[in-house]
């Protein structure tokens, strides 16, 4: 078993073997979660704080459930209504929380790099639950687990990521993870929603769904955020849906057994056809949500093991 990371700040820091370790352990937590009695005690006695500087329902619920199923004491801090509004800096908030001696800190923040900054100031393990337009590592890991379970492997697949790639941390983390696992990646988006410098990413680029989806094993749709529709990135919602929204016709260009994914929450009729999203033969969107809890349990379990080992070594060192 390989997992050396002290924090989970991004996929960029993980080796392929560490990714496999997370997914293998998550597989076991999927089994646990399907039982009636879902509790484990690997985090018993440990404190987990969820600190969300950006509103989130799904991710926060998933992290909360994951912690509770592993026996941790979980606290949710809605930072939107806390001292941050009174002018306290991110670092002061972090130091204050750190003084309460949490073991796991789950953080979402609107600025790229904010979670890295915070991790450098605390002694607990930090999990990035999304920072600006940088990374969202647990989302990429849960997507990887979903793909591996649906396709039986996580290598040599043709994977198309479609939609607002420029502003998506989900896309960044997925690109890095799926690239590390040696898959063929295609990005499909209107050029205004492609990140600058994308030609150096080592992906195939398309601005046409029919061409980009040809033969794809996995079709990953991204959420088009409301502010992008108003920000002059695309002419209108209906033109976007016409050219880039996933429907049965466009999906027919992909491999016959291609799966459809979406990180949620979905804009039905904007980036994906409602019926297609509900088609249990093609869409794995509900599985993604299920895998999310298991992957987060695995990440927290592994980080807690490293944290215990580190504290154990420190205690031994203090005695010597």
């Amino acid at each position: 078993m390989t997992f050396r990371a002290r924090h989970l700040l991004g996929i960029d820091h993980l080796a392929p073997a560490e990714i496999t370790t997370v997914l293998d352990l998550a597989d076991r937590y999927v089994d646990l979660n399907r039982r009636t009695v879902k509790s484990a005690d690997v985090l018993a006695g440990m404190t987990q704080i969820n600190m969300f500087f950006e509103n989130s329902t799904r991710t926060q619920a998933s992290f909360e459930l994951a912690g509770k199923r592993l026996g941790a004491d979980v606290m949710n801090m809605s930072v939107a209504q806390s001292s941050v509004k009174k002018g306290e800096t991110l670092i002061d908030t972090a130091l204050t929380l750190n003084a309460m001696r949490p073991d796991l800190l789950v953080v979402r923040h609107g600025s790229s790099g904010a979670v890295n900054l915070l991790a450098s100031k605390v002694n607990c393990a930090v999990l990035n639950a999304g920072d600006g337009q940088h990374e969202h590592p647990t989302q990429a890991l849960l997507d990887a687990l979903t793909i591996r379970r649906a396709k039986g492997r996580l290598q040599r697949l043709t994977i198309a990521i479609c939609g607002d790639i420029a502003h998506s941390r989900v896309a960044r983390s997925n690109l890095i993870l799926l690239g590390k696992m040696e898959n063929r990646l295609r990005l499909i988006a209107p050029p205004t929603l492609m990140p600058p410098g994308v030609k150096d990413f080592g992906c195939e680029l398309y601005d046409n769904m029919a061409e980009g989806l040809k033969g794809a094993d996995v079709v990953m749709m991204l959420r088009l955020q409301k502010e992008r529709m108003d920000g002059g990135f695309i002419p209108s919602e209906r033109e976007y849906y016409h050219r880039f929204g996933l429907d049965a016709e466009k999906l027919s260009h992909a491999a016959p057994d291609a799966i459809v994914m979406h990180p949620g929450p979905m804009n039905r009729g904007v980036e994906i056809d409602g019926e297609l999203a509900d088609d249990i033969n093609r869409s794995v969107i509900q599985e993604q949500v299920e895998m999310g809890v298991a992957v987060r349990m695995a990440c927290m379990d592994l980080l807690a093991r490293n944290l215990r080992a580190e504290r154990g070594r420190a205690a031994l060192g203090a005695m010597a």
């Binding site: 670092i91 790229s112 990140p195």
Partner: protein
């Protein structure tokens, strides 16, 4: 009277040669020759003696932000860095946009051990709408006019200010940037910015801004200096303009020695205006200095307190201190074989002084005795807390550097060194 022996004299207009130099009062009185009677002899030990640096575009926190930098602390940092003339920026609080504020800073600047000359704002409040009292400000000693990083979107107002400035022979310093395109950017378009999820700006924003300004120079006949050229895309237009118009250009030392990847894990001390560029652009700027397309190298010293840098990258303050690290960082270009020492001091001392109409920057009889004695090869590890500046925001913290200032003289008076 001081007589330097065994000194490698660096003449920006000539070359480097081992010789002696005599100063009397505040001027250089002889190059070469024997020790005059009654002179105090300084054995330079074979080290370099060069005209002191004229650092064009230094932010000092007076008035308004004296906790970041005062004239006194800036002067000490400058002296320790071999800078003998600071050309101060008017982006203070309030801006230097009236003869009264200019008089105030001129008086305050007496606390500095090195010379300080002031640029004034081109428009009132630096907001790009109405020109300042350019005539009065010139009379009060302003050496150039600039709104610093505020780029006017009111092109008509800018054209008027340039037309008016031309009639007085005033020098205008522009910042080449298309403000709409660069709004909110913290990095340069490219793989790095995209992977790190930072809002970025295309290098073309600089070229578009430069093209507009050069068009206005052609239209008005103004004397124009562009503060920083940092991307290769700007160079052809700059080169063309310099052939026919009264145009010069500068570059910051950080854009000559660092690139976008140095930001690494969101290190805010590497956040600059404009943001650091690609390695290709950096190399093109080094070449442009060597070719004389870019005339001036400066530190763009911008003190920022710890709190304004201890923030997520996008929100953090921009800019770095540089008075004390300008010379050792610039010597990287010499050690790397890109520039000779005399070429370097053309860009650091001679060109800025000439462009601003100052007598400094020359290694010649009759020139002011503003000198820096340095060992270009002495290695050291930079510790930011040992900098003289009140603010410690340097990107070179913990970096191995080569080139130590041994002593600095301003007007024949030693202001740094043992």
């Amino acid at each position: 009277m001081l007589h330097f022996t065994n000194a490698l004299l660096i003449d920006p207009e000539g070359g480097e040669h081992l010789s002696s130099l005599t100063i009397q009062g505040d001027v250089i009185t002889a190059l070469g020759g024997d020790t005059p009677a009654g002179a105090t002899v300084v054995d330079a030990g074979g080290h370099c003696l060069a005209p002191g640096i004229v650092d064009w575009g230094v932010k000092i926190g007076e008035p308004g932000e004296r906790h970041r930098e005062s004239f006194r602390s800036a002067g000490l940092a400058a002296a320790a860095g071999g800078v003998t003339t600071i050309i101060a920026r008017p982006d203070t609080k309030p801006a230097i946009d009236t003869p009264e504020t200019l008089e105030f800073v001129t008086r305050r600047a007496a606390e500095s051990v090195v010379r300080i000359r002031h640029m004034a704002a081109l428009t009132k409040h630096r907001d790009g709408q109405e020109m300042t009292e350019i005539g009065f400000l010139l009379d009060a000693g302003a050496v150039a006019f600039t709104d610093v990083y505020n780029v006017s979107t009111n092109t008509k107002a800018l054209a008027r200010a340039m037309t008016y400035a031309r009639s007085l022979g005033a020098l205008i310093v522009g910042h080449a940037q298309e403000p709409g395109l660069s709004a909110g950017a913290a990095a340069t378009h490219g793989k790095f910015a995209s992977l790190y999820g930072l809002p970025s700006v295309s290098p073309m924003a600089e070229k578009i801004g430069l093209d507009r300004d050069l068009g206005l120079v052609e239209m008005t006949g103004a004397r124009y200096h562009v503060d920083q050229i940092t991307v290769a895309a700007s160079l052809p237009a700059l080169e063309r303009a310099k052939a026919t118009l009264d145009v010069t250009a500068g570059v910051s030392i950080h854009h000559l020695t660092l690139n976008e990847y140095d930001v690494g894990d969101y290190r805010t001390f590497f956040k600059m205006t404009p943001p650091l560029r690609s390695e290709d652009d950096r190399l093109a700027m080094v070449q442009a200095v060597a070719d004389g397309v870019i005339d001036v190298i400066a530190s763009f010293h911008t003190p920022a307190d710890e709190e304004s840098k201890r923030l997520p990258f996008e929100e953090a303050a921009s800019g770095a201190v540089g008075l004390q690290t300008l010379l050792p960082a610039a010597l990287r270009l010499v050690h790397g074989g890109h520039l000779t020492l005399s070429q370097l001091f053309r860009a650091l001392s001679f060109n800025p002084a000439r462009r601003l109409g100052l007598p400094q920057g020359r290694m010649a009889v009759g020139a002011p005795a503003d000198l820096v004695l340095f060992d270009p090869n002495a290695p050291f590890l930079l510790d930011r807390f040992k900098l003289e500046s009140k603010s410690k925001n340097t990107p070179f913290d913990g970096t191995r550097m080569e080139g130590k200032v041994l002593a600095t003289w301003v007007g024949g008076q030693k202001v740094y060194g043992s």
